[in-house]
Each structure stands twice: as C-alpha cells, then as structure tokens.
Symmetry: C2
C-alpha cells in the first residue's frame, strides 16, 4: 500500500506535509512517496531524520492564484500534476493533497478519470455529528446538479458510509426545506422520486427529506444535496462554530470569577473544540474518481496530513470503488446524457 | 399605532401571547387588539388583570395540520384570517402572529396583498451577527427564485437595514460558494450582474459575493439569497448552535472540577445563549407585503411576543413601505412576468 503525497500543497507546505508523511510512514502500515521540489523536500526530511523516504522531483507548484480549471493542464511539472500522473500510472494506490480544491478535483477528473458511468465526482466530508460522523455529499464540487447526479451521490454516500465509516445500514436523507415528501423545488421533487424508488427496492435506506437542523440532530448518516447548498451547510457550520467559540472565550474572560472558572472547565471545552476541528476530521474524499484522491484542508498541519493519509489507506483497502463499479447499472437513469 | 395580534397562533397560545400583548400595551406606546376565541382570551386577560384590552372574536384556529396554501381561504373565521382582514380594512397598523409560517405568508399575500410591483414577499430574519444583526433575505418563502426576485430582495433588505436596523450604508452581499465574481450557478451569475449594476449606480451598497462562513465574520449587513439556500443557512445555524450548547453543557458536567468551574462561568455563558436565542431576536418580517405582518417564532413565549410587537411598531413607523413604493421602478426589470 503506497500513498503519493503532494508535498507542496497547502498553507504549511512543505514542512508540515513532510512531517505528517514521516509520522504516517512510521505509525501506519504504508509506504509514502513525496512529490515536490527535491531539495526542499529533502531538507525537510533531513530535519525529521527520515532521509530514506522516496521523493519524486517536480519543479512547479499550483497556487491559489492558478485557475483551477486549467491548472494541472498548464503546469505539467507541478507537484499536484505529477502526483496524479503517478497514481494514474499505478505508481501508488492513493493521492493526498492539501492544495487547491478546484485544481485537485479537475486534475483528478482529467488525469485519473471518473469511474465509468459516474457523471460527476463529489466532495464528501464527514460532519461532526454522532459517533461515526455524518457524510455530506456533495459540498461544493458541483453547483448545478441533475436528479441523476444526486441519485449517484446517494449510492456513493451509502457505500462510503458502509465501507469506510462502518455504519451498517446508513440512513440516507435528501437535504430539503422541510421533512414532508412534497417539499422543495423541481430538483428535490424529481430526486425524491428516484431515491424513494431505490429505497423501496431495498438498495439504499432512504429515510426521506431532512432539514439542515435535523442533520445536527443526527437524523441521517448521509446527507444528499447539490454542491451549492452543501457548501452553504458546510460553511455555515464552520462560521457558527467559530463565532460561538469566540463568544465562549470572551464570556470566560469577563471577570476574575469567570477566569478562575475557565481554568476548571478548560479540559471539557477542549474536547468540544476537538470535535469541531477540521484538522481532526482529516481529509475529504472525492467520490466517483476511479482511484482514491483525498483533499486535506488547506491549513493542514502534520496531524491533519497524518489523518488524511490514514483515510487514504482505509479508503483504498475498503472496496468502495469496486462496490460502485459492480452496481453501476443501478446508478444510471435514462437521460439526455445517457 | 395599533397592533393586531393573532392570540391563538403558536405552541403557547393563548396564555403566553396574551401575556406578551399585555406587557406591550403597558410598556410600549401601542394599542393592541387580540383576535381569538373570546372566552379563552378574556380568561387569560383576567389572569393578567388587564380586562380592558380589546378582543375580537374568531371561532376557528389554523393549526400546523392545515394546508398552508389554502388555510386562510378555508378557515374564514380563524384568528389569523380575521387578524389579516382587520389589517386590510385599516382597523390596525400591523399584524403579529406566531402561527403557521406558510399560512401567514399566503394569507398576507392574498388578503393584505403585496406592494404593487413586488413579485414575491420574502422572509427576512436578523441573524445574531455584529451589533445590529445581519439580515437574511429570503429564508424560506420562495424556494425557486428568478434574478428579478433577488434584485427586489436586495433593495428591500437595504431599505430594512437602513430604516429598521439603523445601519447607515448597509453592505449587501449575494450568498455564494466563493467570493470571486464568477462563482455560482446561472441564478447567481445573472443576479450578480443586476446587483452590480444597482451598486455601480449608487442605489445599493453591493459588496459582491459572500460565503456562508463570511456571513458569520460580519462581512455584510444583508445576505441576499433564494429561499432554499437561505433556509439551509438559517436551519444549519440553529442546528449547530443547539448541538454546541449541548456539548458545552455536557463538557461542563464531566467532573467535580468542571462542575465547580461551571458555576463560575455560568453568567458569561448565559449572555452567549441569549445572543443565539430565537426568542430574543423577536419576529421575522415579511418584506414586500403592503402593510407590516410579523411572524413570531412558533415556540414564542411572552418575551418573544413582546419583542415581535415592538418590532411591528418600529416597522410600521419606519417608512419602509413608502421607500419601496417610491423606488418601485428601480426594482423591476424587463421579464416575461413584466
């Protein structure tokens, strides 16, 4: 099992990326390959006392200033591009990158390709709800969706929840503005009918529409939605959590009394912070790509990179991609794109 | 200034509604008219020692089981229907109801009518961001929108922020999946162009696209979006806030040490809870209706009803409706609906 790592992607590259990779190579049963400017990566490896790790040289870096839709085509020798090419060529089993989300998704689609029959790859992070998390699919890759895309997201989310999150009979919900069957716009109505049919046939465990507030009451294991509303849900979560953390901090510093209290409750609150921390959640898988490509948070430090590499290993060994391939006929409907 | 109150709407009717109305009649410079089952309302008034308040009898009640789209047409003698008819007939200056949102919006549209030229009424609650709040328009009334609807929401949000929230030059943002001008779907692209044009002409202070996380960093005063995504943002906020409050409570009860600390930090955390509390925020105005109709939260207690009545008074005296009427030509674009 070999994980290919884009050593130059993200805010803390290459130092923190290399650090996380070194830790993964020691603690997890994986080989790692680091892709990036050789001299810089080797300097970081030397600092970690791990000069034996494999490095593949790549002279360019894709930055947030590059146009995501053309970045991997224009920068052929970028660490991200080279990493994806190595994956396509069988030089490794998965890619981990903390670089530009858009560039990575476009690159994965163009270079590694989608699973045959899958219309669009989706981003599927796990929200910090319940013991095993709640999968949100899609959360930004596809701002305009058809009912067929959403049907495919539902199946892929169900397979992922089963095989990677180890949820036995994952409850699939369609994100909507109310729980009644008739709620929502045309996209929701058509998708509801498709999901209900799949549910009635026993192929997925469709539990109906779910409101955004219901998601945080642990009412489903997989939230199916278009990338636009999924992005709103994810970024609202991030915004509210940060604002509330700030308010808690401020309220604990109000007076001498609260400052003393703060010392006593510190450990308890740390656990909450950990639960809401993107770094602890690890990466976001792109579901629908023919091989595992994991996007780590742009601000990832070594811990987050380690978590993303662990996720890449679990994903790669889970049988997820085979499950999608074997069931691909169920995931298609007659459509103009047919 | 007279506010008409649906005494039978909401989870805590009529007791808490009457209590809030009695307090408002004492503390605010308003007359109140209570609409509902006379004997029940009078019993509640007697309990409050305020039998001098005006009561209008209505024998029916619209419940959550009634179809919102037909409720006020079918139940002609419901408290909500009668209240809206009184407003239309000039028997008062505003309506406050904690009853079914959908029924109230449909009823307001059918009975009180929209401002001439306004395509759709929108729900516009104030999110607990910044000192004066951030207006979210729309948040659920209209799940499918045209660019023209969103242009009208932007103008109405701008007038509301100026005249009711007293924000001098309110920053208008279009909710989107990124801040770059080109982000989003077709609806966002077309709306962006309209808002930019209005901004360039100096009619609104359009600051561009805003992400959901940016909303909670106080980057705008008015968030313009369709009712579907607005609902997702609002209900995610509610869900995350509740989940985090639960986590805080749990983490404070972990050990004897944290329990002692909890006693010391209690007051500070109460303030945060207050800021995130829907009851303290008051009601949600329906913008675009020709007279003020305020929806109070379904679970409103007396405090929330009091706040909604205060909001109705402020709204009614603000000149908002006149501002929309005077500028109506700017709010229209050539369209099929023209």
């Amino acid at each position: 099992m070999r994980v290919i790592i884009d050593a130059m992607g993200g805010d803390n590259a290459p130092e923190e990326i290399v650090k996380g990779a070194v830790r993964a190579s020691k603690e997890l049963d994986v080989d790692v390959v680091l892709v990036g400017k050789k001299e810089e990566v080797q300097r970081c490896l030397a600092a970690e006392g791990a000069t034996d790790l494999k490095v593949v040289d790549a002279r360019e870096v894709i930055t947030m200033e590059d146009d995501p839709s053309t970045a991997t085509r224009r920068k052929k020798d970028a660490s991200m591009t080279v990493a994806l090419n190595l994956l396509r060529d069988g030089e490794g089993d998965a890619v981990v990158s903390a670089g530009s989300t858009g560039a990575l998704l476009t690159g994965a689609t163009l270079i590694v390709k989608r699973i045959r029959g899958i219309r669009r790859a989706a981003m599927a992070p796990a929200l910090p709800v319940g013991e095993k998390g709640t999968l949100l699919i899609d959360c930004g890759a596809n701002v305009e969706c058809t009912p067929e895309y959403l049907l495919q997201f539902a199946y892929m989310g169900s397979f992922y929840a089963k095989k990677i999150l180890h949820i036995d009979n994952p409850r699939i919900g369609l994100l909507n503005v109310g729980t009644e069957d008739s709620k929502g716009d045309a996209l929701r109505h058509e998708t509801f009918a498709l999901l209900k049919e799949a549910g009635d046939a026993g192929r997925i465990n469709f539990v109906g529409n779910v409101e955004a507030s219901g998601v945080y009451k642990d009412m489903v294991d997989v939230v199916v939605t278009d990338g636009f509303t999924g992005n709103i849900l994810l970024k609202t979560t991030e915004g509210v959590a940060k604002m509330m953390s700030g308010m808690i901090k401020k309220s604990l510093m109000k007076s001498l009394k609260t400052k003393i209290g703060a010392l006593l409750v510190k450990d308890g609150l740390k656990e909450m912070k950990k639960a809401m921390d993107a770094d602890e959640i690890g990466g976001t898988a792109f579901l629908g790509i023919s091989k595992p490509v994991i996007k780590a948070h742009g601000s990832s430090k070594a811990n987050a990179i380690f978590a993303a590499i662990r996720q890449a290993k679990v994903f790669s060994e889970s049988g997820f991609t085979d499950a999608v391939k074997e069931n691909i006929d169920l995931l298609k409907i007659d459509s103009a794109e047919g």
